[in-house]
């Protein structure tokens, strides 16, 4: 396997991991919105 191929695989994986990181952050954000919704619904 060439170094270029390995580097490309690394870049793809890094992007993928960053994507997962964003997804987790988005989940956290959604969770907060959900908790706000619950608060509103309690009235």
């Amino acid at each position: 396997m060439t170094v270029e191929e390995l580097e490309a695989q690394f870049d793809a994986l890094q992007n993928d991991v960053n994507d997962l990181k964003q997804e987790v952050e988005a989940d956290a954000h959604l969770e907060f919105i959900e908790s706000l919704k619950k608060y509103v619904n309690k009235y």
């Binding site: 695989q9 994986l13 890094q14 993928d16 956290a28 969770e31 907060f32």
Partner: protein, 567 residues
Amino acid sequence: MAENINQNAKTNTDPDVNTTNTKEERVEQEATFETYQKETNEINFKETKSSIKSELAKLDGFLKNLKFRRFKEENNLPKNIQSEEDITDPEMKSKFESYKLEMDDPEVQTQYANARTQLIDITTDRNNKINELYGNKMAKDEAEKVGKVQELLNKVDAEINECRGKEGQEEKLKRLEALKEKIGNKEEKTGLFATLHKIAESQMAVRKMAIQDLAETMEARVNGGDAFVKADEKIKNSIGQLDENGRIVTNDMSEISDDLEKMDQEEQQQEEPKEEQQASQQGKNNGAPVMEGGVPADLKPNYLMMLGFNPGNVLNTKSSMAMLENYVSDKITDAQRVEMLNDPETRGIILEAMDKANKSINPINRIKFNKTRANLVKLAKGEMVRKAVETIGDAHPENLEESFENAKNEYASRRADLESRLNVQSLSDEDRANLENQLAELDEKYQSVVNVEEFRTHAAGLERFRDRAADKISGMFNKNERLPLPKKEDAKVEKNEPQNVEPEKEVNEYQPVDGSQEFFIGGLSGAVNSREEVAEKEAEAIENGQKVAEVKKDEKNKDEKKGPEIE
């Protein structure tokens, strides 16, 4: 895979769309979350409640029967008296009604212990199911990525072994070793593995929050007590309570059933407005026209006017943000806000606006949204304050100290290593540049650790916020208070705290630029300054949003160039 990511990045050029995900992805994520929420609610409420009911009914039946048997024995009742209903003599009947079982009756103790074990099992089972539900998806994603990174590392190692010692392979070897360093080490949590480790930690935090939230909702549904805790206490109280003759009271079971029935009714009442809302969203609400986002057009005009929402207009991001800002502004009183929330239709509009705002956040809107969010939180009751207290607890310096020290030591050692490698005179320009880049990257990573130190200072300020918010919210929502606010003595640290508290830094979050004592934490934030002062500063910051970001970026670059100092 990289192509897909690039494609996603290209579709995010719309400034009014979330900067990290496409609309479709957001919708999908929300749908997934909704499903989790729904499934978890099912587990929480229906299954648990029905199991508790069944256990209580069994215990109730047993105690009633035991009471009759003991009464019959002690009073030598004839054999033909087979149940309570067979007692016809008024005097005997009255005696039976006031009869209490002995507290130390072995049969009572055994049955109570059995019932309690069952109730604990039901609750444990519920918690396990929630963990399973939230844990599986996230753990699977993370494990998959860790596996792929490890796979790549193995390939790189194999190539390194192949090249080592061979002539003409020096350049390839250098590149492979640089790549290996970027990939890092799973055990030592370096490189890409370190990022994955951080993701796992975030996921744990999200899971914890989600479970905690559901538990709080459950508490709220039974007006201040978890169904299990409530039932358990009732049982303890009813069996443990002695009358003046030293006998235990056993006829409280009906109260528990009543409570559970009440829960049923409340749940039903809460479900009904939802159904109505859904019907209106589908255009079935007596033929009423439906706005974009499923908002019915025949809402109460006075509330709509107060919120600045025109039924003739489309509810878009801009109008949603404006409405939310109006909702939390001084134009609307606290009493009116409560009235609005009590009105299902207006509440529906507010929720729609929150959804809309959340789905379409660009950096400027995020600033506005954070402001709105901060104000919404300020309006929250005891449960939100309690959440703030718990968040503060999680973020407390003591919990961060160890990881902070580890990270700092690791940084110092890696920096020293890189510097010693840079001091080798025979380095080629390319190698030097490469090492310098690594050093810059390392310094940049260290900045995130430094933030922990800021956060440490910040935690002290948050405790002050908790105290002030508790007082303010307590006054605001006194009539509807359900859950206890934190006690004063929990926040005694105020006097010894530093006066100038740095705001916590958060990616894409608005930070006060003038050192005002406003601070943010995770999903919660609050202001120490007066509302007018903060609003003025925020308005200025919103207007100059981009400039602020640029200035901060410049400042950050400047700091990075200087390089952090090791204590």
